[in-house]
C-alpha cells in the first residue's frame, strides 16, 4: 500500500500489517516470528502510562533502600525478606513464618483485585501494570532513542550491515543489558541488607545465590523485554486465557466502534462526493502501527490485545486531523456498543462500573483487607506452644508418682528481650521444673527470652503418688510478660497430663 494522495495530506497511511492477526495465525504451526515495530504515539493514555511506568520502576528500584529503625535487635531495612532468619519485615510490620497467612491474605487480595479490575476495565493489569509491559516500554524507549522510530527501524533492519547499523545494534543491546542487570540486581536487595550486599556484590564476596539470581533475572529481562516482548503475552502468559471468563457485557474494553467506522474507506472524500455511504475509519492503519503486540484492533476483542489503549491515542490524533469526533477507538463495553450498532446513540454510563458483580468483588477484596488490618493491629506478639512428650507418655517415679515431659516453646516476637512468668494451672497437687527456668515456687517460674527469638524449654510436671485419677488429665500454663519491659501480655495454653490406664 502506498501513501494515498486522496487522503488528507496530513494523515500518513501506514504500511502496517497485524502480525498477530487472529485470522493469520492459523496457517502453519511453526513459522519464524515476525517482528513488531511499534510506532511512537502521544496522547492521554500514553501520558498515563508514562506516569505509571515511572511510579512502578521507582517503587521497584527504591524500596529496598528505604531504612526503618527497629532498634538494635532487628534489621533496619524497611522491606526485607530475611529468608535465613525466617522473618519478613514490611515497615512497622514483622511477620514470622507461622504468620504466613498474611501473605496468603495478600495473594487473595491480589487475586480478587485482579477479578475486580478485570470485570471493570478489562486487562488493565496487562496494559498498564504488568512488568512485561512496563519493561518492554522501557526497552522500546531505548530502541527508539538509538535506532529511531518504526520506519527508521524497518529500513535499518531491511538494509545491509553497515558500520552504523552495527554500532547502533551494539549500543542498543549494551543499554538493554545494563537495564536488565539493574533489574536483576535490584531484586536481590529485597532479601538482604541492601548497602552491605551492594558492597559485597561488587567485591565478589556475595553468596553464589545472589550472583545466580542476578544472572537469571538479567537474562530473562533482556530476552523477554528486548526480544520476546508480545510473544510472552500471546504464547507464554496464562492470564489472557483466564480473563476472557471474567469479562461481561459491562466490562470496559478497548473497542473499535465499527458501527461508526465502517465501511472504512481510503478514499473518503471521493466516496462522499459520489454520495456513497462511508464510515469514519480512513484505514490509515495508525492503530496497527502503534500496537505493541502487533494486532489489528478493528478485528475486535482478541487474545493479543493487552488494552494498553495506545491505539486510542493514535486514532484520536487522526480523527482530530480529519475534523471528526474522537473515540472511533475507545474504551467501551458490549452493551453500549450494541445499542449504538442498533441505531440508539448511547454514551458509556459511569454507573455500569457499580454492578452486583463488581460490588461483590469489591466487598470480598475490602473484607480481606480489613480482616488483615484488624488482625495485624490486634495480634499478640507472644505465642506459646506446649508439646507433650509422646515417647514415653509418662514415667513412673520411685515413690510411685508420675512425671510427664513437655517442650515449652515461648515465642517472643517483640524487638526487646523479655522476662516471662510461667504459672501452672490445674492439677493442684502437681509441680513442675525445667532447665533454664528460675523457680519462684513449685508451680511458678520465670524465664528470659531474647528479643525476636523462640525459647525452647524442656519442662517436667510431677504428680505425687495416687493423685492422677485419669489416663489423660487437663492442665494449662499461663505465660505472662513481666518486668519493666513487658506490658503484661499473657496467654493461657492448655495441654494434657498422661497417666496409666485406669482399670
Amino acid at each position: 500500500m502506498a501513501v494515498n494522495e486522496q487522503l488528507d495530506s496530513t494523515i500518513e497511511q501506514h504500511d502496517a500489517v497485524a502480525v498477530h492477526s487472529e485470522g493469520k495465525r492459523s496457517t502453519p504451526l511453526y513459522i519464524a516470528s515476525r517482528k513488531v515495530y511499534p510506532k511512537a504515539v502521544s496522547g492521554y493514555f500514553r501520558n498515563l502510562k508514562w506516569i505509571l511506568t515511572a511510579i512502578f520502576l521507582g517503587v521497584y528500584y527504591i524500596t529496598p533502600w528505604i531504612r526503618w529503625d527497629r532498634g538494635e535487635h532487628a534489621p533496619n531495612q524497611a522491606v526485607l525478606v530475611d529468608i535465613l532468619h525466617r522473618r519478613f519485615y514490611f515497615f512497622g510490620i514483622e511477620i514470622w513464618p507461622q504468620e504466613f497467612y498474611y501473605v496468603a491474605g495478600l495473594l487473595i487480595m491480589g487475586g480478587v483485585g485482579l477479578f475486580l479490575i478485570t470485570s471493570v476495565a478489562g486487562r488493565a493489569w496487562c496494559g498498564y501494570a504488568c512488568w512485561q509491559t512496563v519493561w518492554t516500554d522501557l526497552f522500546l524507549v531505548v530502541e527508539r532513542w538509538i535506532e529511531g522510530d518504526r520506519n527508521a527501524r524497518i529500513r535499518l533492519e531491511n538494509g545491509p550491515w553497515t558500520a552504523s547499523r552495527v554500532a547502533k545494534f551494539l549500543a542498543k543491546n549494551a543499554v538493554w543489558l545494563l537495564i536488565a542487570l539493574a533489574t536483576g540486581g535490584a531484586w536481590i536487595f529485597y532479601f538482604a541488607d541492601a548497602p552491605t550486599l551492594l558492597k559485597s556484590f561488587f567485591t565478589g564476596q556475595a553468596p553464589f545465590v545472589a550472583y545466580a539470581t542476578v544472572g537469571v533475572l538479567t537474562f530473562t529481562t533482556f530476552v523477554f523485554a528486548g526480544y520476546m516482548r508480545e510473544q510472552v503475552c500471546i504464547y507464554m502468559c496464562p492470564w489472557p486465557r483466564i480473563q476472557s471468563a471474567m469479562f461481561d457485557e459491562n466490562s470496559l474494553l478497548v473497542t473499535y466502534n465499527a458501527w461508526r467506522g465502517e465501511p472504512r474507506s481510503l478514499h473518503r472524500k471521493k466516496a462522499l462526493a459520489a454520495g456513497q455511504k462511508v464510515g469514519d475509519c480512513v484505514d490509515c492503519n495508525a492503530c496497527v502501527a502503534v500496537c505493541p503486540t502487533g494486532i489489528d484492533i478493528r478485528e475486535g476483542s482478541q487474545l493479543g490485545c493487552i488494552t494498553c489503549a495506545l491505539c486510542i491515542d493514535a486514532c484520536n490524533e487522526v480523527m482530530d486531523k480529519m475534523g471528526l469526533p474522537r473515540g472511533l477507538i475507545s474504551y467501551s463495553n458490549t452493551v453500549t456498543y450494541n445499542d449504538n450498532a442498533a441505531g440508539k446513540p448511547t454514551h458509556l454510563k459511569a454507573s455500569t462500573v457499580f454492578r452486583p458483580r463488581t460490588l461483590i468483588y469489591f466487598t470480598v477484596w475490602s473484607l480481606a483487607g480489613l480482616l488483615m488490618m484488624m488482625s495485624l493491629f490486634t495480634r499478640e506478639r507472644l505465642d506459646v506452644n506446649i508439646v507433650p512428650d509422646r515417647n514415653p507418655l509418662y514415667t513412673k517415679l520411685s515413690d510411685g508418682g508420675l512425671r510427664n515431659g513437655y517442650q515449652l516453646k515461648i515465642l517472643n516476637m517483640k524487638q526487646q528481650p523479655l522476662t516471662f512468668r510461667v504459672e501452672m494451672q490445674g492439677l493442684a497437687e502437681g509441680s513442675f521444673a525445667g532447665d533454664g527456668l528460675t523457680m519462684v515456687s513449685p508451680r511458678e517460674a520465670t524465664v528470659n527470652v531474647e528479643a525476636d527469638k523462640l525459647k525452647n524449654v524442656k519442662i517436667y510436671v510431677t504428680m505425687p503418688p495416687n493423685t492422677v485419677k485419669s489416663e489423660s488429665s487437663e492442665l494449662a500454663f499461663k505465660v505472662t510478660e513481666t518486668g519493666p519491659e513487658g506490658d503484661g501480655e499473657s496467654l493461657v495454653t492448655g495441654t494434657v497430663f498422661h497417666g496409666p490406664k485406669v482399670k
Binding site: 512428650d389 514415667t395 513412673k396
Partner: protein, 290 residues
C-alpha cells in the same frame, strides 16, 4: 532437483514418500527445537568427557573431574564433621559436668547424644529410653549404678557385666534356690520384700523373712532394703521393678530362686569419647538425672 509436490489442502510440501497411496507432509521441526537438540548433543559430549561415562569390562571411564557419588557423600560427611569440629573439640576437652554446665555445649551434647542413642541404645532401652522388662527405664529417678553424670558416663564407657572390659560394672545375685534357702524360707523373704515396698504381704511370713533378709540379702540390698549402688543392687522399697511389671509374690520368688542378670556392652571400645560424653549428658537430661 525434482519438483516438490504440494499437498492441495494444507499447501504443505510432501516428502515424496508414499505408502499405500498415503503421502507424508514435510512439516519441518521448529527451529528452536532443532537448535535445542543440537545443543543437547554438544552438552552430552562434554558431559561424557567430564563425568564418569563409558562402561568398561571391570570399571568405567572416570571422567576428567574424577567425580563419583560415593566421593560426593564422603565430601558431605567430612564437611558436616568439619562444621561440628569446633564443638566436638570443646566436648573432648571438657568433662561431663563442665559440658552440662555450659548451655551451648549442653544443647549440642543433648542433640548429638539423642542421635547416638537412636543408633546404639534403642535396641534395648527403647526409642523413648523408657526401657522394658529387664531393661532399665532411663527417664525415671531410680538408678541401679548411679544417676549422676559421672556414674552414667562410667556405665556407658565400661558397660555392665561386659565380658570384654576389665573395668566393667559387675555383680551377681546368688541363686538362693541352689541349696541356700529352702522353698519356705524363700517364700518368707518374698513376703518381707513385698512388705518393704508397701505391698500386701502375709504378716507372719514377712516377720520370719525379716531375719532371713538381714542374714542373706542385707549385705547387698542394705539393711533397710534401699539397695547399694556399688553392687548395682536395686532399691527394693520403691515402686520401680526391673524384672517384672507387677510386684507379685510369684515374680519375687522367681527372682530370688534363680535371678536374671542384665548385660550392657562396654561402649568405650566402640564409640569415641566425645560421643559417650554426649550420650551421658543426653541420658542425664531425660528427667531422672542426679
Amino acid at each position: 532437483m525434482s519438483k516438490r509436490e504440494r499437498d492441495e489442502i494444507s499447501g504443505t510440501e510432501t516428502t515424496g514418500h508414499t505408502w499405500d497411496g498415503l503421502k507424508e507432509l514435510n512439516t519441518p521441526l521448529p527451529r528452536w527445537w532443532v537448535w535445542t537438540f543440537y545443543v543437547t548433543i554438544i552438552w552430552a559430549l562434554g558431559y561424557s568427557i567430564v563425568y564418569p561415562s563409558w562402561p568398561l569390562l571391570t570399571t568405567n571411564v572416570k571422567g576428567l573431574w574424577n567425580w563419583s557419588s560415593r566421593g560426593d557423600v564422603a565430601a558431605s560427611l567430612s564437611a558436616a564433621q568439619g562444621a561440628q569440629k569446633e564443638w566436638l573439640d570443646k566436648i573432648n576437652a571438657a568433662d561431663v559436668n563442665a559440658i552440662n554446665a555450659d548451655e551451648q555445649l549442653r544443647n549440642f551434647a543433648v542433640a548429638g547424644g539423642a542421635a547416638a542413642f537412636k543408633v546404639n541404645c534403642v535396641q534395648c532401652h527403647g526409642s523413648g529410653a523408657a526401657g522394658a522388662v529387664g531393661y532399665p527405664n532411663l527417664n525415671d529417678n531410680d538408678w541401679l549404678w548411679g544417676g549422676s553424670l559421672d556414674a552414667i558416663y562410667t556405665t556407658i564407657q565400661h558397660g555392665i557385666r561386659s565380658t570384654d572390659d576389665g573395668s566393667t560394672r559387675d555383680s551377681a545375685m546368688p541363686a538362693f534356690a541352689d541349696g541356700v534357702l529352702d522353698a519356705t524360707q524363700i517364700d518368707q523373704v518374698a513376703n518381707y520384700v513385698l512388705k518393704l515396698s508397701g505391698n500386701e504381704a502375709d504378716e507372719a511370713a514377712a516377720t520370719a523373712g525379716a531375719q532371713l533378709f538381714t542374714d542373706n540379702c542385707a549385705s547387698c540390698h542394705g539393711a533397710d532394703g534401699k539397695g547399694m549402688r556399688d553392687f548395682g543392687a536395686p532399691n527394693l522399697t520403691d515402686s520401680i521393678w526391673l524384672r517384672f511389671d507387677a510386684p507379685t509374690k510369684e515374680n519375687i520368688v522367681a527372682q530370688i530362686s534363680k535371678p536374671h542378670h542384665g548385660l550392657m556392652p562396654a561402649w568405650a571400645a566402640k564409640l569415641d569419647d566425645a560421643t559417650i560424653k554426649q550420650l551421658a549428658v543426653y541420658v542425664h537430661s531425660l528427667g531422672g538425672g542426679e
